[in-house]
């Protein structure tokens, strides 16, 4: 079976890469030169203004994004509990389970709203004093 030898080829490859690196580093002519911008091109670029519509659109986009952010922040602030505390009831003692309910024993109130609610009591509603007809 033929023995494969890598030693010589590997050394040759490494030497060639090193030589290329040295060439490109120290010989300036071989490195790619960045073409300098001519004066005409620079003037042409500077003379081209940003379209007004684009400016307006950008400003509108910024304003609407800021507005949406403010709205969301206000909403989050309003419905969060930032400035209020948490209210915790002390643990309840024994509860008497009723009617087979494990979570609620039926402590409830019900209303029927088919009919309009009665007027508020007279004590709450300010009433004008009845005018007595002149005799």
């Amino acid at each position: 079976m033929k023995e494969i030898r890598y030693g010589r080829g590997l050394r040759l490859g490494v030497s060639m890469i090193a030589a290329l690196l040295v060439l490109f580093t120290f010989v300036p002519g071989l490195a790619a030169q960045t073409p300098e911008e001519t004066r005409d091109e620079a003037e042409q670029f500077a003379a081209r203004p940003i379209p007004r519509e684009l400016k307006i659109f950008a400003v509108l986009l910024l304003v609407s994004a800021a507005g949406a952010g403010l709205y969301l922040a206000f909403r989050a602030w309003r419905y969060s509990n930032l400035f209020d505390r948490q209210y915790v009831f002390p643990p309840a003692g024994e509860a008497t389970l009723r009617l087979g309910g494990s979570r609620s024993g039926g402590c409830m109130a019900t209303i029927d709203f088919a009919t309009a609610p009665a007027d508020p009591p007279a004590a709450i509603t300010p009433q004008k004093p009845e005018e007595t007809p002149p005799p």
Binding site: R85, Q86, V88, F89, L99, S104, G105, G106
Partner: protein, 190 residues
């Protein structure tokens, strides 16, 4: 404490109403499969505008933020297979609302149900809140919302209930922290 079905007085920790024989098992048979409910707000008949529903969901979440023990759920329904009292009592015990592990005195949940067809509403609390909120208190929360419910403005009625309950429960917690008696004596829990 009254029976959710016949409104008869329940004296003791009875597993069955002595007047009408109501039990949870009987309600299971009557109502069948528990309908799917959202944790905060379920509007099955679609009576709430989308924007109002969003606001109410946030209010209910905010309520839970203030009272971390309590989940306040609301449902609007139509064509209920029984009276709202029976149905809400069954839902409070069977529906997957709030903290499912919280049973007995550890349950501080609240459930408001509105039957838009029968035009009735009910508010029920868990065992944990029974020693703080009586049936009279719950009625005082529901009654001011009657006008809005009657006018078909369910969002406003629900909002009134949430606000009144928030204020009432805040005052109860503060009173209990200050060592004042908060246990109701008007409607004793037997």
């Amino acid at each position: 404490m009254k029976c959710p079905s016949c409104l008869g007085f329940l004296h003791t920790a009875t597993p069955k109403c002595p007047q009408c024989g109501l039990t949870m098992r009987r309600l299971d048979v009557k109502f069948g499969v528990v309908p799917h409910q959202q944790t905060t707000l379920t509007d099955r008949p679609g009576r709430l505008p989308a924007r109002e529903a969003r606001i109410l969901r946030r209010l209910l979440s905010s309520f839970h933020g203030r009272f971390p023990q309590c989940f306040f759920s609301v449902f609007l329904s139509e064509q209920l297979p029984g009276p709202i009292g029976e149905y809400i009592f069954w839902m409070a015990n069977r529906a997957r609302l709030g903290n499912l592990q919280a049973t007995g005195p550890a349950n501080f949940d609240l459930l408001l149900g509105i039957d838009v067809d029968a035009r009735t509403a009910a508010l029920v609390v868990g065992y944990g809140l029974e020693q703080y909120l009586t049936e009279d208190d719950l009625e005082r929360v529901l009654l001011p919302a009657t006008g809005a419910f009657h006018a078909g403005d369910f969002a406003e009625g629900i909002r009134i209930c949430i606000e009144l309950l928030t204020e009432k429960m805040k005052s109860l917690v503060v009173a209990s922290e200050q060592g004042q008696p908060v246990v109701s004596t008007s409607d004793p829990v037997s």
